[in-house]
């Protein structure tokens, strides 16, 4: 606009030299005024830009809130209520497959914000379909320690393994791998503290340790001073060219369960375990997208290997075995491929190895079928999901689950996952 005004004025100057000094003086003044106006306009623009970056009002400090809605429609050939993994202790509840028929999944409410320049806080509350509220995570974490250190405290998803710290709504399958069910009761979210350190290198090297209460499987929430569980983990990760990113890790968990009940309806007596439990996890994840742009197609390969050693007392009908020991292992490997925008397919293979279990009092699988049947559970899972946007996902999942000795559970389920509210950031 100003440019055309300038042109007009230049024209005026050229055409009307005859009007002489007065006109020129007027033009000069006009020029000055325009320059002043331009300056003021620039200033106003700057102020406007500043103002636009500053939200007003008390509620501007509201934390980021998001809500996850989930639900399933499931069919299974065996009753999910009698679910067990032969040879491994946790049964029912959290580790079981989805309820038959139509059912609501867990609705997750996530509230997070920086507390001050030094701390950040986050709550993940899970509203269960049984009308209870569970605290999945409620933790603070430091922002200002420096030198690559971070301390987390409260209840949080442990950083052991790979999938453990991924929220269930971001999983690639509706349920957890068998190894997670058998060795961690689904996942580990203990009450405790975590110290983490990132090395000052171009390759990601991350070391950490956690001290916890040991409130859930494999621990038993001992009523004692001090800690009931500790973990240590190391992660390394980087890029291979622009297209591939990877991370691998090794984790260790140690806990001392006391009278950990083994719930087995087929057993000829009550059973519980007291002793020491050591778990090792080796994990890797590899993500590939052409040129690092996952919009059209991308591929994800993920696997974890678990190895557990437990030793101590097996109490069977109030008789202590004295020297129970078990060495068991398990793994899963899964691949998920996005073959076109919005559509992905995935396959997962699960396998557990019963390993060696010696109970010290001559019990056989007839006495304690859940614990002592020498059987290697397996499962094959296929899924296809459609994500109309990054906030919604609908998934079809088929599984052939051989967790139970001599039986195959064929499962079909349809799942929806919706996320509302603040745009969450997902971990790699």
């Amino acid at each position: 606009m100003f440019r055309s005004m300038w042109c007009a004025m230049a024209l005026a100057v050229a055409v009307v030299p005859a009007y002489g000094q007065d006109v020129r003086e007027e033009l000069r003044q006009l020029q000055q005024r325009i320059q002043q106006l331009e300056k003021r306009l620039q200033e106003t623009e700057n102020v406007a830009a500043q103002a636009s970056a500053r939200p007003a009002g008390e509620n501007a400090f509201n934390p980021a809130v998001s809500l996850i809605l989930q639900g399933t429609a499931a069919r299974s050939s065996l009753d999910p209520n009698t679910y067990q993994i032969t040879g491994f202790a946790p049964t029912g509840g959290e580790v079981g497959p989805a309820r038959r028929g139509l059912s609501l999944g867990e609705s997750e409410l996530v509230v997070a914000a920086n507390i001050d320049p030094y701390f950040r806080g986050q709550l993940v509350a899970s509203l269960t379909p049984e009308d209870t509220v569970e605290v999945e995570e409620a933790f603070f974490q430091t922002l200002g320690l420096g030198k690559g250190f971070t301390i987390k405290g409260g209840r949080f998803l442990s950083s052991i393994g790979y999938q453990n710290q991924i929220h269930s709504h971001a999983w690639d399958f509706q349920d957890a791998p068998l190894a997670y069910k058998a060795f961690l009761g689904g996942r580990l979210n203990d009450d405790g503290v975590q110290l983490r350190w990132v090395a000052p290198t171009d390759l990601l090297v991350e070391l950490g340790t956690e001290l916890g209460q040991g409130r859930t499987f494999p621990g038993t929430a001992p009523n004692k001073n001090g800690t009931g569980l500790w973990t240590a983990f190391a992660h390394a990760g980087g890029d291979i060219g622009a297209s591939t990113a990877w991370r691998t890790g090794l984790s260790y968990l140690r806990t001392s369960p006391q009278d950990r009940a083994i719930d087995d309806v087929g057993a000829l007596g009550t059973q519980s375990f007291t002793g020491r439990s050591n778990l090792w996890i080796a994990d890797f994840i590899l993500k590939w997208a052409p040129g690092g742009n996952p919009t059209l197609t991308n591929f994800k390969l993920q696997g974890e290997y678990f190895r557990r050693k437990e030793s101590g007392d097996l109490n069977f009908n109030n008789v202590n075995s004295g020297d129970y020991s078990s060495r068991q292992s398990g793994w899963y490997l899964q691949g998920v491929y996005q073959f076109m925008p919005q559509w992905r397919v995935g396959y997962r293979r699960d396998q557990l190895d019963h390993g060696t279990v010696s109970n010290g009092i001559g019990l056989t699988s007839a006495d304690s079928p859940l614990l002592l049947t020498d059987y290697n559970p397996k499962r094959n899972t296929l899924m296809v999901d459609w994500s109309p946007s990054e906030f919604s996902r609908i998934r079809l999942q088929l599984a052939s689950d051989k967790s139970r000795f001599g039986m195959t559970d064929n499962q079909v389920l349809l799942q929806y996952i919706y996320s509302l509210g603040a745009h969450g950031a997902h971990t790699f």
């Binding site: 830009a49 636009s52 922002l143 320690l145 983490r196 990601l204 996952p294 946007s389 969450g424």
Partner: protein, 297 residues
Amino acid sequence: MRILLTALSFAISSPAFAALNILACEPEWGALAKEIGGDRVTVYTATTALQDPHRIEARPSLIARARSADLMVCTGAELEIGWAPLLQTQSGNPKIQAGQPGYFEAASVVALLEKPTRLDRSMGDIHAAGNPHIHLDPRNIARVSAALSERMATLDRADTRYYEDREKSFLQRWSDATARWEKQGAPLKGMPLVVYHKNFTYLINWLGMREVGALEPKPGLPPSTAHLGELLDQLKREPAKAVVRAAYNEPRAAEWLAERAKIPAVMVPFTVGGTDNAKDLFTLYDDTLTRLLAVAK
């Protein structure tokens, strides 16, 4: 002992003649940081021009780079909301936290366009603060460069003069180039365009072009056949000159529409590195204008 300590301190400090370690979220800010910082900075750019800045993951390599960054230069306005916050919380680096001088958001010094009047996800993946793709208006680059050089001087007091001088020289060359581009781009005035994503808004606004449609039915959703059909009908009534997409947008939808509407499909670099010619900020604009002028006629 002293010799050992001297040797050790030399070993620690010698590879880093650079005073500032910068992590740039997008290539345009990496290029700008290099223009201003010269040899006093080392710049690592988190994304390439062939990646969609909305869809980046907080990869292990990025967390490692964030760990030792003195300054993180991002667009802001929620463009990096899916990944940058994780780099901040997982790197254990207090310097680059939001609110610290080591975290710089380019959008905070620019007046944003297309600020939504209604915030609702039924409108697609919209950004509350406005359209974040600010770097294709050279006047915005000038504003950001002033603020960024100030920030770099705050973090590295010893080199204040160096940054000021380089910024001044850059700004001089930049305003000359801007004048040249405006002259060159005059034939583009009023040119109607179909875009892929609403990431050319500032370019269109600066050169006075017109956006008559977008291949994405809503921001962030992939083009659907139904929407492309509607767009084709619309183009029959009110034709456009070209379908424009960024180097990182997939070509098929743009080519499909262009072929049927009998108009050219144009790929522009969008940011530094998007084409072989777009090597820095100047050549980014040169190449963008060349490609647009080729279809303006």
